[in-house]
Assembly symmetry: C2
Homo-oligomer: 222 residues x 2
């Protein structure tokens, strides 16, 4: 397994045993997540903004309006942090103090770059679209030159990164295991329900298979 750049900044300090630094794990978590939270300084104020993304190799792509304030700020080469969090469950211990969550999170540090090459830009948009809904790119109408001009796409390096993972049952103090209090894990997952067809679809438009069977999961890109 290839290791990521483990720096003082990305080393997991609290509960260090939950830190993971291999690229395969980080990539799998990034592929499973749907939105990231991007942190950056905007005129001295730390801001955290949610947005979609996609991954290809060692790059994470984000996009938005070419007049977006966030993308403009990020494209200026400022330090940024991209965090992706997957919630897997609520951990109910016997003691309030030992309640926790099962989760998998990734923190990436670095600077974004504006993609200027039109071919790379189109590929990045395909990656972002396919990350959201695998199978959608080939079905949908592709961007026009005007739409491409109205879109900014940034590339963020997956280099200085770490993951933090908690799994498994609650861990109580030994003395509390004699208590009759119920304890366990309540699993959580982001799940899709039945698709709602747009009222303005032409008669006969049917829900595509890749929508009917949509599922997030670690096997997404397996």
């Amino acid at each position: 397994m290839s290791e990521l750049q483990k720096t003082e900044r990305t080393q997991v300090k609290r509960r260090a045993q939950r830190g993971v630094y291999d690229r395969e794990t980080v990539n799998a978590l990034l592929d499973e997540g749907l939105v990231c939270h991007i942190g950056f300084l905007a005129e001295g104020t730390p801001l955290v903004i949610p947005t979609g993304y996609g991954r290809r190799g060692e790059k994470l792509y984000i996009h938005g309006s070419s007049v977006s304030g966030m993308l403009g700020a990020l494209a200026g080469g400022i330090d940024a942090c991209v965090t992706v969090t997957l919630l897997d469950g609520i951990v109910l211990a016997r003691a309030v103090f030992h309640h926790s969550m099962n989760y998998r999170s990734v923190v990436l540090l670095g600077k974004a770059t504006l993609i200027v090459d039109p071919v790379e830009k189109l590929v990045a948009l395909e990656v972002i679209t396919e990350h959201l809904v695998p199978g959608r790119w080939d079905d949908a109408r592709k961007p026009t030159p005007q739409e491409l001009d109205a879109t900014a796409v940034l590339s963020f390096p997956i280099e200085e990164a770490s993951a933090k993972i908690r799994t498994g049952p609650p861990i109580d103090k030994e003395a509390d295991y004699g208590s009759p209090i119920w304890a366990g894990v309540l699993p959580l997952a982001l799940t899709a329900s039945e698709a709602i067809t747009d009222e303005r679809c032409l008669p006969g438009a049917t829900v595509p298979d890749y929508i009917r069977t949509y599922k997030r999961g670690t096997s997404l890109k397996a």
Copy 2:
């Protein structure tokens, strides 16, 4: 409806029509979310860290180890941003360009304060626990003085805040509505599945009703 403090920093700029500034909406979103993402500057680096929380009135509480680097930094009175994001669906337009997500997000700006009063601290821990799983506080073993000492609880003001919300079907360019491409919304929700009882529970321990019927939703605190 009471209005929040709308400042240059919290005013929604991109797609301003999605901005919401009333306290009832912001509170409902905070009550429905499970984790927030906190952004702050740590030795010059913007960091975004996920964590649980709870809300009571106009305060958001977060907690962690009393030796946590993040809580120590935040308690020092630095600027921070707390963002909560709820994903409601994937918006599949006919054009790639008009793909979007249905979401509800809240951004809070301000500075955290360490809670030193032991009564307020215990109340805040109850709020955080009940936010995670309503009904759990009365069931679980309460914190000992030692556990309280090992826990830091911060209070964050819900004052300078805004919400951003997208709902509804895809919006395509008028010309694209003549296309046979399927379009619509794929609803998403964070859902709980059947609870897993800890293997070390005493014989006869049964899953409590508040776990069996657990559901996140806007009616959580209605």
